[in-house]
Amino acid sequence: MAEERPDQRSFKAEKPFGANSGLEPPDKPIDDADDSVGINASDLSEETLCPSCGRFVGAYEKCPYCGAALKKRMSLLIWKRIAVGGTILGLLVMWFAATQMTPELVQIGEIQETYNNAQVTIRGTVVDRRLDPNRGSISLTIADDSGAIGARSFSALPEFKKLGNIPRVGDKIETVGTIQIDAVYGTSLNLDLPHRLKIQETPEPTETDISRLREADVYNRVTVTGMVKHPVRFGKAVITDKVNDLVVALDPRNIGEEIPDLNTGDGVEITGVIISGVEGYTIIPAGPDDIRPYDVTVTIPKMAIKDLTMANLGDLVEVEGTVQTFTAFKSGGGSATISDGTGRIIVGPLFASIFDNIPDNHKLKARGTRIRVKGTVAQFRGELQVGPGSAENVTIITPEKQQ
């Protein structure tokens, strides 16, 4: 029988050169190969056929069917070398370049949607800070001249503590992070590289008055003095210089649990960063040491109830009178209506958190109890009221004293 020439045989086309060889499941054992799939060898270039058995071998250097060593044409060899050499050399160059480069410094205001997932360097002032030791998360608000951005990590707080580079509000920092932009959560910076956060300096604060605060002070560190108008409630207090009010943000996640007692009428000097929002200006101190007692000459005027009008809304006043009625709230606490003989006014709202801390508070529910209240004049449904804001501002004058 005449021997079949290699180029006359059918062959298995399971590994056509150029296609993705090496993938399952078409790679069957040679003996199980499906011969029905064959096409003529003349359809393929000679270089892709085994000179020994005539089967298609693609880029193999040894025939997988008969084991013959295959002399490849130059282009295949070159491409194989390029693939390996180019990858290793290219990756080494990329690695070297990557270790030498610093992510581009960008202005916060220039960040747009196409920056999503880009690694950048941000330089600015920390204007707010929230630490959650239980979850290990850290959240900063960093501002520069062009805008502000939230920077956060959900797990890096222990690493920040280890490195000792947790910035305080007012610190100028430079950090590297990845930008995340989301239609719901807005633009933020991922702070997963704690060692890339450098605290550059803590600028000296500028002394100013509450009523002289301007847009130019926003994101800057200032020192102001004033009198406590509303004591701390929901992480905020309000101080006043009798002309303008200033909200003081006292979030325990920023300044810790050691928040100083601020009672209505106390004089304070506060250093912090100014931000602007719906409530007007807010000052954010970096820690408890930024809140110091200060001797203010401002006194709270003692007013007769008849003298209080809508023109006094927002004023800090002191009134004294006897309880006429007490209306309890479903959630605890309530409001009292007092009279000083010249008129009647509501004292409240005395939320449960305030009411429960007033000594002998049950007396407030008894008609005739004389009380002294320091608070801010407000109105509710057209009626004037004095809001004490804290239990310390409500003093129950004992019946003995009254007698």
């Binding site: 086309a13 590994k15 056509p16 050169f17 150029g18 296609a19 993705n20 060889s21 090496g22 993938l23 399952e24 499941p25 078409p26 790679d27 799939v37 096409i39 359809d43 892709t48 880029a59 997988p64 069917y65 084991g67 282009s75 295949l76 491409w79 693939a83 390996v84 050499g85 180019g86 990858t87 290219g90 990756l91 160059v93 990329m94 690695w95 990557a98 270790t99 480069m101 992510p103 581009e104 960008v106 747009q112 949607e113 196409t114 999503n116 997932n117 880009a118 690694q119 797990s155 890096a156 690493e159 930008i179 932009i181 989301d182 239609a183 719901v184 997963d192 590289l193 704690p194 060692h195």
Partner: protein, 462 residues
């Protein structure tokens, strides 16, 4: 959604544009979305700002058409994307038998069945997946690690083991396994560099993986196709498909499993999902395999994007964001209404049907084209398109051509060249191309496990 006709027109435009665009080898919808978003930044009239759903409808049409139409370059022009690499060999078998059209239609039919699966799976998206996510979410890092182990361990020796010495036998048996492990390791290393300190300009941060994926899968495939001397036999356009209901079911099931795995697990693509599902179902028939890949691709691409439309109130943590398209579009709008989900699903069905018809139409004229023009020449043209697109991406985002953006373009091309070399290793050394997916799956896995910053610092990238 009062202007639903406008949204529908955008969906139609996306479907039709994708229907013809994705016939070109190596054009991927994620890359094209980068071009569209870059252009939208300069021509705001492209999509109405007060109708953000138009953008999503346009791209959903495009995603669905890609899932189905991508079969054509994979089947006829030898340029698969990362999720289609598994369809090529059986697909090539169909093509070499002159049954490329039948193979393409089989994959397209799989795509339609994939959409049917998504329809019947919708209640699970609302009521099952959020609960499952609560359970699986914290364990994602080791689930991905298991998949990595599975990917590496499931590759088997392809050498003969023949040789005169033990070393030759050992080398013959282990060469491709070693190539697979090397490809995996180098891809993972590249991923760390790209994720931690990329050379891509910050302004195209949202397309940071563009040059990497173009190099790994598109350019390497095109080079491979150009070097190939293979001639395509005459193709037969038949009126029926060799398929029965039992085979269809057998192909549907692994495709659905693979596509679902890939759609849900971050960093896992249709190829990897298909590999796991294929092994799990252990079906050997080529028809089953080709069809299951059609199902898997559509379930993966469309399902992944569809997850973004599940109203966030079904989830404890504000919804799911999976896949490049959701990440690319998330800065612009987050669908929140149940109506939006069902409206988009209607678009999926419409786009699926149109794409299936276009698949038949396009396959027929492509068969005529490749009979006259060698596909190597088509690959040259595709290569030129892809390189121009990558090089000018920084310019498109900047909206200007100057020295700075051209330099950025060169940087991007540099990254693409390295990833191309990496993408060629599996082709020339006969290991799985899915090993290249280590470029994202390993960094994601390490990052989720909390070791990302530490490892980056160790590599000098922190």
């Amino acid at each position: 959604m009062e202007n639903w006709i406008i949204i529908l027109l955008y969906a139609l435009a996306g479907t039709l544009l994708g229907g013809f665009l994705f016939v070109i080898p190596s054009i991927h919808f994620l890359n094209f979305s980068g071009v569209v978003i870059a252009l939208w930044g300069h021509y705001h009239g492209l999509f109405p700002l007060d109708q953000p759903l138009t953008l999503f409808a346009f791209f959903m049409g495009m995603v669905v058409s890609f899932g189905i139409m991508n079969t054509i370059p994979s089947m006829f022009l030898g340029a698969p994307d990362e999720s289609a690499v598994f369809v090529v060999l059986p697909g090539a078998k169909y093509m070499l038998q002159g049954k490329g059209y039948e193979g393409a239609m089989l994959t397209g039919l799989g795509g339609l069945l994939g959409i049917f699966f998504l329809a019947i799976f919708t209640p699970f998206f609302f009521f099952g997946l959020p609960k499952l996510h609560v359970i699986l979410g914290p364990h994602m890092h080791w689930i991905l690690a298991l998949i990595i182990v599975y990917m590496l361990m499931s590759e088997w020796p392809k050498g003969t083991g023949k040789g005169d010495t033990w070393w030759e036998k050992f080398k013959g048996a282990w060469a491709n396994l070693f190539a697979g492990i090397v490809t995996f390791a180098l891809s993972a290393f590249m991923g760390f560099i790209i994720f931690n300190r990329t050379m891509v300009p910050v302004k195209m941060g949202f397309q940071g993986l563009l040059p990497v994926f173009v190099g790994l899968f598109a350019v390497s495939s095109l080079i491979s196709a150009i070097l190939s001397k293979q001639k395509i036999p005459k193709q037969h356009v038949g009126n029926d498909i060799d398929l029965d209901y039992k085979t269809m079911w057998k192909g549907w099931m692994p495709g659905c499993i693979g596509g679902t795995l890939a759609a849900y697990l971050p960093g896992v693509t249709g190829g990897i999902g298909g590999l796991i599902a294929g092994h799990a179902c252990a079906q050997r028939d080529d028809r089953i395999f080709v069809m299951s890949q059609g199902v898997s691709k559509v379930v993966y691409y469309t399902g992944q994007f569809l997850l973004f439309f599940i109203p966030p109130y079904f989830f404890l943590s504000g919804g799911l964001k999976r896949g490049g398209m959701a990440i690319n579009l998330s800065p612009f709008y987050k669908p929140v209404l149940l109506q939006e989900y069902f409206f988009i699903f209607g678009i999926v069905i419409m786009a699926g049907c149109i794409s299936f018809l276009l698949l038949s139409f396009n396959s027929k004229w492509i068969i005529k084209v490749i009979a006259k023009v060698p596909y190597q020449q088509l690959s040259y043209a595709s290569l030129a398109i892809v390189i121009v697109m990558v090089f000018f991406m920084p310019a498109m985002i900047e909206g200007a051509i100057n020295g700075s953006v051209l330099l950025s373009g060169l940087q991007v091309i540099g990254v693409m060249c390295v990833s191309t070399c990496l993408g060629l290793i599996p082709i020339f050394y006969h290991c799985r191309r899915s090993n290249c997916m280590a470029v994202i799956i390993v960094p994601i896995c390490i990052s989720m496990s909390g070791y990302g910053p530490g490892l980056a610092q160790l590599l000098g990238l922190g």
